[in-house]
Amino acid sequence: MKRIISILVLTLALALTLGVFCGCDGGNSDKKTYTFNADGIMLKIGAPASVVNSLGTPIAKDESASCGGIPGVDEVYVFSGYKVYTTPAKDGNVINKIEITDDSVKTPEGVAAGSTKAEVIKAMGEPTSESGTSLVYAGNGMKLTFIIRNDTVTSIQYVAE
């Protein structure tokens, strides 16, 4: 009987230990957070929208309330070569999308609109998923998508998940 109890206790202890160590992964914590360097200012998905103020005056800006009286407004800021989108969150707007719009701007890894698919994979590594028209790199609470037409990157988008 004592032996059985000892085995049960040991099994329980082992299970708990494994559980603790397996659980410490925290889900997405091993995933990379892809950031965008906007003239020396690092932008990342989920950051407070106030960081956009440090990017200077946008070429255009617009805001749009949700239908149905849902509180808050979504915003878009257009800068030369990229756009930043923000959306309402618990403590104010946060960045939920960054889009590189032309070849004057590159990702920190050196990919720009006009890069080939092979150049993207060389700079970024193998994608998390791939379709005929995109390479997707899953990040921590976000994904980085390269939209590809005729083997050439046409758009780069950091998007919240």
């Binding site: 617009d62 749009s64 878009v76 028209t133 995109s134 046409t154 988008q157």
Partner: protein, 349 residues
């Protein structure tokens, strides 16, 4: 003794049921001054009792902010109703149409195609605004099953108190005032917006982001097939439209448009993309939108309605009902109500 116990239990049960009824009536959102869009679905039933409609509009905000039934009646004698709601997804539209057919059979159903971009349920708040106001029927049951997100339960639609019991700290005087009876917020499903917030040329230049895949979701297209079949089975003409608004937030891509043109062609349907007809309609983006070009205000909606009414009459044979005295009497009241609300809103602005 036993009889007294039964009576006491019955009284307790009755008190409990009445209390829960009033608690629910107090706690559910009233959708009057805040989010009036949530009241649209329920308002249809009284209108359908009053008179029949030859045209039913179904779809999202792009129908209830774009078409003014009072103007359709005034200019063309067309009896119509807008069964729109905020972010009405295509399965919502299908079940709202199915529900409406329990009351009447219109000659034409006009469906706004923007919602076809969504293939999956999106938001509990919008589900509530569309579904909670439906009267109970198999259509409502099916609408709940098709629409609910992972976090929603069917039971919470049967007993909204389960969902809204935590609104205690959000209650306002309006919750008490409109606990048992709510004022009508729409005009035959149209929601008046009199504000003017011009769409700046720069705003109009902000286009939607490129997509990796422009294929409209098969789930939404399957429901469009169902809407088509429902219309066919009931001898109703289905007309597809895209409202003239096209903002970065709700961008209508050329690739999507091509798929709708193809669908309409294959199914023998008329499709009107009003984005291409803004000049002919006479829309002035500095005056005819209340939110920088995302939606039309009443001035833009009246222009679009007058423009489309001619098409409904000439190309689709929707009859002029001015000679129908009963219908005229009803619409006389509705037109008066619309202009009265319009005047009040302009005064408040």
């Amino acid at each position: 003794m036993k009889k007294r116990l039964i009576i006491s239990s019955a009284i307790c049960l009755a008190v409990l049921i009445v209390s829960l009824y009033f608690a629910q009536a107090l706690l559910v959102p009233k959708y009057v001054s805040v989010s009036p869009e949530g009241a649209l679905t329920a308002e249809y039933y009284a209108a359908a009792d009053e008179t029949s409609h030859d045209v039913l509009f179904i779809g999202d905000c792009e129908v209830y902010e774009s078409f003014v039934p009072a103007v359709l009646w005034e200019k063309y004698g067309i009896s119509s109703y807008v069964r729109g709601s905020a972010q009405q997804l295509v399965w919502h539209s299908y079940y709202l149409l199915e529900d409406a057919l329990r009351y009447e059979t219109p000659k034409a159903v006009v469906f706004n195609v923007l919602a076809l971009k969504y293939g999956q349920p999106q938001s509990e708040a919008y589900n509530r605004m569309t579904i909670d106001g439906m009267e109970w029927s198999q259509s409502k049951v099916d609408a709940i099953i098709a629409s609910k997100t992972e976090d929603e339960s069917f039971l919470s639609y049967v007993f909204p108190l389960l969902r809204f019991h935590s609104r205690w700290d959000e209650l306002t005087g309006e919750d008490l005032e409109y606990m048992l009876d709510r004022p009508e917020v729409s005009d035959s499903g149209y929601l008046i917006q009199t504000d003017v917030r011009a769409a700046e040329p720069d705003d109009l230049a902000i286009e939607g982001s490129p997509l990796a895949d422009y294929t409209l979701p098969k789930e939404s297209m399957a429901y469009l097939d169902k809407i088509k079949k429902l219309c066919d089975d009931n001898g109703i003409e289905l007309i597809l439209i895209k409202a003239p608004t096209n903002s970065w937030r709700y961008w209508w891509y050329d690739e999507w448009d091509a798929q709708i043109v193809d669908y309409a062609g294959k199914n023998g349907l008329a499709y009107y993309n009003f984005i291409d007809e803004v000049e002919d309609i006479g829309i002035d983006w500095s005056q005819d939108t209340y939110d920088g070009g995302v939606h039309l205000n009443v001035y833009g909606a009246m222009k679009l309605t007058e423009y489309f009414g001619k098409t409904l009459r000439d190309a689709h044979g929707i009859p002029d009902r001015h000679e129908d005295t009963n219908m005229s009497a009803v619409w006389s009241g509705r037109v008066e109500s619309f202009y009265s609300k319009l005047t009040d809103n302009i005064r408040e602005d």
